[in-house]
Symmetry: C2
Amino acid sequence: MQVKDYKGVSKAAIQRMPKYLRYLLTIKNDGEQNISSTDIANALNLNPVLVRKDLSYVSSVAGKPKTGFSVSELIVDLKKFLGYNNLNDAVLVGVGHLGKALLSYSGFNSCGINIVAAFDNDELITDTYILDKRIFSTKILEEKVKELGAKIGIITVPTKAAQTVCDMLVAGGVKAIWNFAPMHLQVPDEIVIKNEDLAGSLALLSQKMANRIENN
Amino acid sequence: MQVKDYKGVSKAAIQRMPKYLRYLLTIKNDGEQNISSTDIANALNLNPVLVRKDLSYVSSVAGKPKTGFSVSELIVDLKKFLGYNNLNDAVLVGVGHLGKALLSYSGFNSCGINIVAAFDNDELITDTYILDKRIFSTKILEEKVKELGAKIGIITVPTKAAQTVCDMLVAGGVKAIWNFAPMHLQVPDEIVIKNEDLAGSLALLSQKMANRIENN
DNA sequence: TAGATTGTTAATCGATTAACAATC
DNA sequence: TAGATTGTTAATCGATTAACAATC
């Protein structure tokens, strides 16, 4: 088996990969065996050349002129690229509505992330379960994260607690932070952080709306 | 009062604006009157030149050498740029965990968006309230959206229902869709859409982790 | 074969950073 | 005044698109 080194893939391209994978899974389900970059591009409102370039980074088998790409093979390649076969253990801190939403979402298991435990301050819910995930007290966060060896920390606590929780997760040994609290967190250089900024998305949406109306 | 035309602001810059605003609000709370672009940049891990360029798009008053920018004035300018003073009415469809999380989040009111109603298929929760937002049956979605005149539709339903709900919202007259379902939605050209793609974010996080570990 | 489709190189577009003069 | 800080222009970097030869 040939080994790809995945060099030079742009950030934007990385974020498109799960979209390709999802689309391919749906058409595979419809019984499609082959697909052209043009068809993928049309379905996802992208430029066909961009799709070809993205797929060239991950595909182990070249697309064939006239027939296009093998759906099954692309799916395998995309899953490998995205690391969906080897799960990373994660813990989630803050079992409010959003925390519950993420804990209940079964789709993460097929996205390379496995939430193994949750933490919350509220004594009423500690030692209860959401699906098969136990909720522990935040008091034992650091020690428990060490024990579990979790590598990703998901933060869904209120803004004012976010930095403290972040520090505890880092002390517990996580290598990456996925932050849903609306604030910028400070982490050591070696820690990877991804901020999920809804206000930023909303700003973009509002701006597009304003411009759209203006141009009518 | 001078009128800014906000031309040439990059998408990336638009998404940074709420971050600046949030940071300025916290330091205003700490009693700071002035702030330099360098200090903002350090706090948010950005390049100072980038911060100055971004702020130059929105600030009605130039920063002063030696003292920097007036915190209060920047706050006013950012709020105006982001349209946080004139609220857009929105409806939310799909009152699961994520839907509840968004309905319960009081912070949207200060982000220019006002959720006026929600919809769900589940008869058990129709005509109940979350905060002051009433949950209606999805059956009357189109007519109710028209009646309310909502301009933004927020989709938090399962994947398989997302496109149908999207079409109903568009038929109801919304101008923008904020989609949290993990799939690509098709909308008419004149409708603005923003996909909140957690799988894409996660892909980026995983990739960064993999590279970080590799480079050690 | 002819035509659809691929994959690559070059050109363009967009965003960030570097350099530096202006000024409070 | 001197130095911190701004704002702008040019250079660089990164990502997308256009052009086109290769090929099943």
